[in-house]
Amino acid sequence: MCPREVLDRIFQREDLDFVARQDSREALELFRRERKRIAHLWIRQIRQEIAGIRQVHVAMVRESSDLEPATELKVALEYLLVSGLCWLMTVAIYFLGPVHTRGLARHASELAADLSSVVGKSAMTPQARAENLTRGGG
């Protein structure tokens, strides 16, 4: 996944303000176009990641005999939420630009990381899960 500092850089205002101060219409237009493109790339990356996580999870569930309904519900909800946020961001970026979707991007990134961690934990054997808990892994 793309590092947090890079994510902040894509969506923060600082660079836009800097280009606006340069008094170059060409640079400002190029910057706006480029940041939109990068933001869409990031959304595509998040979508691919959660699709991968979902595939792994579905494969795991098919072979599992002891499903935990609470975990399954959490995975399903988070997957739907991240997918929804990605869709919302695509529309918002088109109309408003990346700067105005920073909060949504952070939220989607945190949810995707949480989804990956929940699926990772549920993939562990009961013994590994117990060991992880005693190590303080949550």
Binding site: M1, C2, P3, E5, V6, R9, I10, E14, D15, F18, V19, Q22, D23, S24, E26, A27, L30, F31, E34, R35, R37, I38, L41, W42, Q45
Partner: protein
């Protein structure tokens, strides 16, 4: 035990590379271009005879790769203002006319192949995009300088 010894050798090679070579280069772009140039573009392997002689080929390769990734990470998350400044430092330190640097970099886009082989694709795209915008900004600065009357 063997892994630990290797780790120590890589760390020593990194320190040597930082202190004896990279410290002498002015600016992050110069360091990035230098490190990228030590890589064979067909195999992706880093080569540095001096470093390999001092440590081992394996340690030298790992040190070059790690420093390359570190510098790219720094530049990848830099603000656009910093990228513009870094390009000015690069042109100045290498005694290249800014107009010439802009023309060459806009045409050949060498910064696209200066990235490490293994890096996050969004970070790589953001870096290339920032350099493209920075070059456009610098071009507008040059044009403004040209239009300024000589006595201003």
């Amino acid at each position: 035990m063997e892994a630990r010894v290797k780790g120590v050798a890589v760390e020593a090679a990194r320190e040597d590379l930082r202190n004896r070579t990279l410290a002498k280069l002015k600016g992050e772009f110069a360091r990035l271009i230098y490190l990228a140039s030590t890589r064979d573009y067909t195999t992706g392997q880093y080569q540095h005879d001096g470093l390999a002689k001092e440590f081992s080929r394996e340690a030298a390769t790992a040190a070059l790769k790690s420093c390359h990734e570190e510098i790219f990470k720094t530049l990848g998350k830099s603000s656009l203002e910093d990228v513009v400044e870094e390009l000015e430092v690069y042109a100045c330190a290498n005694h290249i006319e800014m107009v010439e640097l802009i023309r060459t970099w806009e045409n050949l886009q060498p910064y696209r192949i200066a990235r490490p082989l293994e890096c996050d694709p969004v970070t790589a795209e953001l870096f290339a995009s920032n350099v493209t915008v920075a070059l456009t900004i610098l071009r507008s600065h040059c044009l403004r300088e040209d239009r300024r009357p000589p006595d201003a």
